[in-house]
């Protein structure tokens, strides 16, 4: 062995060997932590693709939790469907009578919660506009293809001013004073549902998870020793516009005009209707909101989309939202300073950014 000294060095060699074994064990443990601890499952539920990611739970528990989530989503979907027979459609029929009745518990919870948010949004988020959504063809299994509905009918519905304020709630009894009201929780049920599922997962002992219902999500805990990494889709074209890290307990919701829409004579007609005009809201193409509560984030993303580039700051303040990113129809990104600190653009060329005053 010409290249090794022949001097006996056993003690040193022994401690080196111990060091080597220690390092090896550490390296293996690190591999195990990063690779084996994530459990992910997808399923179709709630009219969308739901993706549940769980970190740091054993497989049996993660499987049990995912199954529970899937059952919850199916149950809520059946209860809240806006055009298939459900607790919600039955509630709508009885609201139309103008008489007081006992509302199903599943729908009552949504009415109570969304009424508060509708008021705080100055009516820009309002689940009472179901008749407008139906008129535009967005309450259907097959998406509409145009042309847009008769302007006179849109005008008549807007003039009737359906609003959550028209629903009186006394205990578990409700009554509606405006026959133009028809509830559609399409802009709210997903957020509320994600909150319910997260609570269920927590009761089962899950501490780190993402529940992602068709791109809108709530994340709790962390991905091991790092935060969760969330990409935000580019509203035009494939790929990711930006990313944000979340940890602890935060929901990230985006409303975009690319989700449900039809093109007619070169113009895009999407499903986020402005209750003030009866037409798809113009000015924004997507709005991303971060809030601890998924129901709030969902309602706010809709309200701020309707508010558009000129009004979103006012409405965000009214709703108590602290993180907003709005992409307008020119591709300019509007953000409040706190959001700008968290957003990392993933595009080759950073978009034009307009910072708002602090919220």
């Amino acid at each position: 062995m010409p290249f090794l000294p022949r001097v006996p060095r056993r003690p040193a060699a022994r401690s080196l060997a111990r060091l080597g074994i220690g390092l090896l064990a550490l390296a293996l443990a690190a591999c195990d932590r990063s690779g084996g601890a994530v459990y992910q499952q997808q399923f179709f539920a709630f009219g969308t693709l739901v993706d549940v990611t769980i970190y740091g739970a054993d497989t049996a528990l993660a499987q049990k939790a995912t199954d529970a989530a899937e059952q919850d989503f199916h149950r809520m979907h059946r209860a809240w469907h806006a055009w298939h027979p459900s607790d919600l459609t039955r509630t709508n029929h009885r609201l139309a009578t103008g008489r007081a009745f006992k509302a199903p518990a599943s729908v009552l919870a949504l009415i109570r919660r969304s009424r508060v948010l509708a008021r705080r949004s100055d009516g820009l988020f309002d689940p009472a506009v179901g008749k407008l959504l139906a008129l535009w063809g967005f309450e259907s299994d097959t998406p509409p293809s145009g042309p847009p509905p008769d302007p006179a009918r849109i005008k008549a519905l807007v003039a009737a001013h359906p609003s959550m304020e028209d629903i009186e709630v006394r205990g578990d009894r409700v009554r509606c004073t405006n026959p133009a009201v028809q509830l559609d929780f399409g802009a709210f049920a997903k957020g509320y549902g994600v909150d319910q599922v997260i609570e269920h997962l927590r009761r089962l002992g899950i501490r780190n998870a993402i529940v992602d219902a068709g791109g809108d999500l709530r994340a709790i805990g962390r991905h091991g020793d790092r935060p969760w990494r969330i990409g935000i889709r580019a509203p035009r074209g494939p790929g990711v516009l930006a990313s944000v890290e979340v940890s602890g307990d935060q929901s990230v919701f985006t409303s975009g005009d690319y989700e449900r829409y039809f093109m007619y004579k070169g113009k895009r007609y999407h499903h986020i209707l402005d209750p003030r005009t009866g037409y798809p809201a113009r000015g924004a193409v997507s709005v991303t909101v971060i809030d601890p509560d998924a129901a709030v984030a969902d309602a706010a993303a809709t309200a701020l989309f309707v508010a558009g580039p000129k009004q979103w700051v006012t409405i965000a303040r009214r709703m108590g939202i602290h993180y907003v990113m709005l992409v307008d129809d020119q591709g300019t990104v509007h953000m409040n300073p706190a959001m700008a600190k968290r957003i990392h653009f993933e595009t080759d060329k950073a978009p034009k950014v307009v910072l708002s005053p602090s919220l």
Partner: protein
Amino acid sequence: MTRADVLVVILAAALLAVLYAHFWSAPTLAAQVRVQEGNQPPRIYALDQDRVIRVRGPLGDSVLRIRHGRVRFVSSPCRGKICVHAGWLSHAGEAAACVPNRVSVQVLGQDPRFDAINS
């Protein structure tokens, strides 16, 4: 060289291999894609073998293509075609779905760049 020395050398070599595998083996390089129809168990395909996959959904066949390490929806019997417009997917974690036809694809990888895509 003593036994302990040999052990140290072997351990050092093993450690090097482990560290190499952990830090250098291109963890975001996509190798496989997961294809799911409805709530059936997913099927896994290698991304390094070009092929066309037909997936039968409730509306008809969704057609996927794997080419040069990427995957995309070529066609789907839905109206919105959001799945087709999603284009090529190649990075771990990227996904596209045809919700009406209940078909989803997701690129698998060791350490995806994103844990979820908000849309």
